[in-house]
């Protein structure tokens, strides 16, 4: 009976050690992840992400995008056709 109780206690201790190892591991994983998150958040997305046709059209709700960037590019293209005499 006493031996059975001791085995139970040992099992419980083993379980608690396993849980604490898991906590330490996930804690370290969390620290690394937080660092990666805040580090890479400040970088612009790759062109694979930004240069595509099927992006969500947030620009419909950001009017100045079309008014500035598209307008400017049109002007530039028109200017490019001018010839210097």
């Amino acid at each position: 009976m006493a031996l059975y109780r001791d085995t139970e206690i040992i099992d419980e201790i083993k379980r608690q050690i396993a849980v604490s190892y898991l906590t330490i591991f996930t804690g370290l994983l969390g620290l690394l992840s937080a660092f990666i998150f805040f580090y890479f958040l400040r970088f612009k997305a790759s062109t694979k992400q930004t240069d595509r046709d099927n992006r969500i059209k947030w620009s419909k709700f950001i009017p100045y995008r079309n008014e500035t960037s598209n307008g400017d590019s049109e002007k530039e293209s028109q200017d490019a056709t001018f010839k210097d005499d």
């Binding site: 849980v19 604490s20 898991l22 906590t23 996930t26 804690g27 994983l29 969390g30 620290l31 992840s33 937080a34 990666i36 998150f37 805040f38 890479f40 958040l41 400040r42 970088f43 612009k44 997305a45 790759s46 062109t47 694979k48 992400q49 930004t50 595509r52 099927n54 992006r55 969500i56 059209k57 947030w58 620009s59 419909k60 709700f61 950001i62 009017p63 100045y64 995008r65 500035t68 960037s69």
Partner: protein, 263 residues
């Protein structure tokens, strides 16, 4: 009405926090523009405030702290509505979004939600030691993974992606509202939300997935706002939206872990 027109009638994003006409503001020549760096710094500030409030709520439990936490949640709720607006089906905008309020409301939101998180986390930790560290870590792990997937172009948010996430988010929101009403009336709640059986775990996994995918929309809006040179206050707005999703994700992961540990 096509599905995309329906989406447009709701607003910008599938994420209820970020759904607004926030980007309609024009930037004058003299006005300072937002940057990714600024949005990251603001997110860091809001995270710091949330953690500080959570630490207070965690360490000083008692009737007074319960009142303070309740007030904090109320303040966070009001701050959220003042910034993101309030939309209701078939009625439209009850409160219009006011993104220019974000520099004032975002810190209030962070502190208010911090009190709630502290309270929830402390109760969860009492039941299952170590669970909070695991939930925090998993939240950042999921966020970092999705950020990398977004930045590298592995996940590409499209209009259909937005529609699916929006529909799923609204479905979850309405399920929680229905559960709240049901629990007020009957004193019990939907078993699929609270149960730690296979269905309960599958539901939690689904909610965690949707919360995580909302992060992708947040990243996309912050990215595009930066590309378009949105006004400076949009840094706070983007950071607040990101924090709202992160807090939601954390709570859902905590709930999922509690279900798994409670089996």
């Amino acid at each position: 009405m096509s599905k995309h027109q329906i989406l447009n009638s709701f607003g910008v994003s599938g994420n209820p926090a970020i759904r607004s006409a926030a980007f309609q503001e024009k930037v004058s020549a003299n006005e300072e523009r937002m940057s990714l760096e600024g949005a990251v710094n603001k997110t860091g500030i809001l995270l710091f405030l949330t953690v500080m409030a959570a630490a207070v709520s965690w360490n000083f439990q008692g009737p007074l702290m319960t009142i303070v936490s309740s007030l904090g949640v109320l303040v966070a709720f009001i701050s959220g509505i003042m910034t993101f607006g309030f939309y209701f089906f078939f009625i439209g905008w009850i409160v219009e979004p006011r993104p220019y309020n974000a520099p004032k409301t975002a810190p209030l939101y962070a502190v208010g939600m911090g009190f709630l998180i502290g309270l929830l986390s402390q109760q969860a930790e009492n039941l299952y030691p170590g669970i909070v560290i695991q939930a925090v870590s998993l939240t950042f792990f999921v966020a970092a993974s999705l950020l990398l997937a977004y930045k590298t172009g592995l996940i590409k948010p499209t209009q259909n992606f937005l529609l699916i996430i929006f529909a799923a988010t609204m479905g979850i929101f309405l399920t929680y509202i229905a559960n709240l009403a049901y629990s007020v009336l009957t004193g019990s709640s939907f078993s699929v939300i609270t149960d730690n059986g296979p269905y309960g775990i599958m539901f939690s996994l689904f909610v965690v997935g949707i919360a995580a995918l909302n992060l992708v929309l947040d990243f996309d809006i912050i990215e595009q706002a930066d590309e378009q040179g949105a006004p400076k206050y949009m840094e706070w707005f983007g950071a607040m939206a990101l924090m709202a999703t992160l807090i939601w994700l954390y709570i859902e992961i905590l709930r999922l872990l509690m279900k798994l540990r409670g089996r």
